[in-house]
């Protein structure tokens, strides 16, 4: 299996921008305030809505494995729909951000903050709202689940698309304009194809992320509101409550099958198809044999027939004259200044309103003492993430280098690592909880590894990719000058994989923060183990339906994650790109 280069997902976010020199731009502060405002708003709305339903008709109550195919189908449909919504979001939001000089910086700062908001936090504060949209019916719950999955998929896709739009080669855009393509036609014929390879890679990553949170998205429980939508996720939740080990194994099997089917039927063909959009490709690049699914699609006439009306419609749309909006009237300087003043004024007012609202909300509910307590919990979680990332790096970097230098081994290990990254950690909770109980271990320490269970693989497969990209020349030089042992690691192997490692570590760190909400509290039947940390705090507040504390937890986590990214990962990433990236 040939993998796409790990066009780092993080690169999209950390690549130099206009504010590359600044640590926190005014846009970041405005965006952060707006996000706080939204969180508080949703928390307020949720609290005031009467809990609309206690239970739903289709709740799974049986752990019969024969139900699993249907559940698997429902779960994958939910994920597909969420993926569709994410794509829609990507095409609109990212395009707006890339094309509008005025909105762009704010939208991007907003995206960066949203990416730091824990995914389960989104669920906690929005689920009641979604349920109230269609009281008493399944539809609202489905909406909530899809929204939850959407929040685990959309941000990095939007980042990647935005980054691609900003880096379309000038000559291609110019060619489009000289030959009379409208903005609409340029978008679909030039910009979107150009963005496609990295978008597809990000879609794959997003799908993994979606699986990781599938249990949380289908079995939602906030205060008195409990929902379990038929699906693999809620099946797992039920199996954990009922301490049914067989059912857990069945669920693992089902999930394996679904992930494999996705891989074979969707992502392999997509990746192979997307190769044609790579702009740097030369003939003679070793092109792997196209996967069977793509061959079948290409050779069958059916696909052509299905695509024909769509293609015709698109072709027709390219020929339409752009609406008058597309050619804005040149504005006089005075008008521009006036509208600038208006825009910045509005933004300042909105940010101030969010600040005021947050002040009122938190000021009422949260004491200083409690804030200090939450910050302390955040520090505990931070310590866990830091120690775990350090440990995982120490373990997986040498292994990754060893594997990456051996092509045959790489071919075996790489897909397994990628699969493991998609694997929801909840499935291993039963094992973990049983072990901790059996040996009477301290949960503060021994629950921690669960946080990195799913995310450590990002380090491994990025390092593997880095090591396999070490040029032949370097290895020959090392051999020729007898560079061995410690010197070889220090001078050749570690520097060569460093940028890749950083990419993996950043992804792993972000993922671990997210996972803390799931991992700092583990259930197995009626046994509940809890570690002291911000994740457990949010999870507890969610169980109690205590919106003020949910909101506080979310805001603190988002702020801490953003600050860690800005203060630590971003400078490190830039340094790695500048010094160690082989052009």
């Amino acid at each position: 299996m040939r993998l796409l280069p790990p066009v780092s997902v993080e690169w999209n976010r950390l690549a130099p921008s206009r504010w590359s020199g600044t640590w926190l731009s005014p846009w970041d502060i405005a965006a952060a305030l707006l996000v706080v405002g939204f969180v508080v708003l949703f928390a307020l709305v949720s609290r005031n809505l009467v809990s609309p339903l206690a239970s739903l008709p289709a709740e799974p109550s049986s752990l019969d494995p024969r139900l699993l195919p249907e559940y698997a189908l429902r779960t994958s449909l939910r994920m597909l729909i969420a993926m569709g919504v994410s794509l829609l979001f990507t095409f609109t939001y990212a395009t707006w951000a890339a094309k509008s000089p005025r909105m762009g910086p704010l939208l991007i700062a907003l995206l960066d903050i949203l990416q730091s908001v824990p995914i389960l936090g989104f669920i906690s504060i929005t689920v009641v709202f979604f349920l109230s949209l269609t009281p008493g019916r399944m539809f609202g719950a489905e909406l909530a689940a899809v929204f939850a999955i959407f929040t685990s998929q959309a941000w990095n896709m939007a980042f990647s698309f935005y980054q691609s739009l900003r880096t379309v080669p000038d000559e291609l855009t110019e060619a489009g304009r000289v030959f009379g393509l409208s903005a609409w036609a340029r978008f679909w014929r030039i910009e979107t194809p150009f963005a496609m390879p990295s978008l597809i890679w990000n879609m794959m990553m997003s799908m993994s992320g979606g699986w990781f949170f599938v249990v949380a998205a289908e079995a939602i429980s906030v205060g008195h509101t409990t929902i379990a939508l038929p699906g693999i996720g809620s099946y797992i939740a039920l199996a954990i409550t009922e301490r049914d080990m067989d059912a857990i194994l069945w669920a693992i099997g089902a999930m394996l099958v679904v992930i494999l089917i996705y891989d074979q039927l969707l992502f392999r063909p997509l990746v192979a198809w997307a190769r044609r959009f790579r702009i740097d490709q030369q003939e003679g690049d070793d092109e792997p044999a196209p996967p069977w699914a793509l061959l079948v699609l290409r050779r069958s006439k059916l696909m052509d027939r299905l695509a024909l009306p769509f293609q015709t419609a698109m072709r027709w749309s390219y020929r339409q004259k752009p609406p008058a909006l597309a050619t804005p009237l040149p504005q006089g300087p005075s008008r521009r200044i006036a509208s600038d003043v208006l825009w910045y004024g509005l933004l300042a007012v909105a940010a101030a309103a969010a600040l005021w609202q947050g002040w009122l909300f938190f000021g009422h509910e949260i004491s200083w003492h409690e804030l200090q307590e939450v910050l302390l919990l955040a520090f505990f979680t931070f310590l866990r993430v830091a120690v775990l990332i350090a440990l995982a790096s120490a373990v997986w970097t040498p292994i990754g280098i060893y594997v990456g230098l051996r092509p045959r081994l790489t071919a075996i290990v790489q897909p397994i690592a990628q699969f493991l990254a998609a694997f929801p950690a909840n499935l291993l909770f039963p094992v973990a909880v049983s072990l901790i109980v059996a040996f009477q271990l301290n949960p503060d320490i021994w629950l921690s590894p669960l946080m990195i269970l799913g995310t450590q693989w990002y380090i491994l497969f990025n390092v593997i990719a880095g090591a396999s990209a070490i040029p032949r020349d370097f290895r020959d030089v090392a051999a020729g000058f007898q560079v061995r042992g410690l010197q070889w690691w220090r001078r050749i192997a570690l520097p060569a994989v460093f940028p890749y490692y950083i990419t993996g570590a950043i992804t792993a760190s972000g993922g671990s923060w997210n996972a803390s909400i799931v991992a700092e509290i583990a259930n197995w039947g009626d046994r509940t183990l809890e570690a002291r940390g911000l994740g457990a705090y949010i999870a507890d507040a969610t169980t109690k339906g205590d919106y003020a504390h949910i909101a506080l937890g979310i805001v603190v986590m988002a702020v801490v994650v953003t600050l860690v990214n800005r203060a630590f990962w971003r400078p490190l990433f830039r340094y790695a790109e500048r010094k160690y990236r082989l052009a």
């Binding site: 080669p169 000559e171 291609l172 110019e174 060619a175 304009r177 000289v178 030959f179 009379g180 393509l181 409208s182 036609a185 014929r189 030039i190 194809p193 044609r276 959009f277 790579r278 702009i279 490709q281 030369q282 003939e283 072709r315 390219y318 020929r319 050619t327 010094k579």
Partner: protein, 432 residues
Amino acid sequence: MRENTVLDVRHLRRAFPRPGGGELLVLDDVNLTLHKGEIVGLLGRSGSGKSTLLRLISGLAEPQGGEITYLGQKIDGPPAGIAMVFQGFALLPWLTVFENVQLGLEAQHIPAKEARARTLAAIDLIGLDGYESAYPRELSGGMRQRVGFARAMVVNPNILLMDEPFSALDVLTAENLRTDFLELWAEGQLPIQCVILVTHNIEEAVLMCDRVLLFSTNPGRVTGEIRIDLPHPRNRNDPRFGDLVDRIYVEMTAGRIARAEQQRAGLRAGIGMLLPRVSSNLISGLLETVAAEPFNGTADLPDIASDLQMEIDELFPVAETLELLRFARLEGGDIVLTEAGKRFAEAELDERKRMFRRRLLVHVPLAVLISRVLDERETHSAPKRRFLDELEDHMTPDAAEDTLRALIGWARFGELFAYDDETGMLSLENPS
């Protein structure tokens, strides 16, 4: 205005606002009239704004002053009837040859059947028959640029704009493509009225154009016009061909020298001088070549350019640097070594470094400034930013970065000062 005028450019000005206020001129007072049936060349170094001019004509950018009229109408936005061939081909890698060529027709209201016929005809005309279903990545550079030509031809443009269309190709392929193009042009087979060719290759200009406009750099101005009346097909060995090439070299170096004198006398003298990024190897190499047989200290620029396979974009910066450091003089299309230049060519490495260092301190005001600052500071070091800020009062941030980089390269060779890229610090200390 004459009957067959297709395009008229009057007093064109293009400028960018400078960060600290004021503006930077890219193009200044450019005039150009294009008639039916002619190929006009725009010849100049990079940074002379000729590509910018092309983008203004094609409606991709807007001028800050003056105007462009195309068939009597002012240009705003890309007009129909002007097509472009790009230096980097600008083909869409996800479309086949056929689809790439058809691109421009799709945007117009052309019935599918007619579009297909015209596309096939253009592919045929440009010699791409049989490649219709190939993807650009499967083609060689030459074939790719043919696709670029076919894509431009298929819309039957009145004006074909060519932005250094052959510069990304190897010598043989470029020659083959030029000849094919000229043949079709001479036979009247091409559906175009006139051509503007941007190039920095003097021989290419003489081979293809009816008129050549010479551009100066910073800002771009038209400094001269040379008419080329040789009949097609033109022969590079024709003495008249060689004379024209010589004449262009003379004019281009003469214009440059006059401007340099102006600069020295005027306000822009001092650290505002743009320095080209030329490596010390090239400087030594050119000095050695000119000093040796058969040149013996005096070389004809066209000769040496063809001997070394260098285009003016590569050769002129080196020659200018030699002149700046008084290692050579440029006179009437020749490069003549000074006494110092000859000594340098014969010297050993250490002596060369010494000479180089001394000359930097005499002739390059920025080098003087930096050494003085480093000397005066107690730490003998200063951040790069400090000097960039000062340079940016005189030039764009990009040019400032280039200029400082050029000087850092020279200073390293002359061991004048050191630079640490990690910390961005210039210092007098060398690693011991």
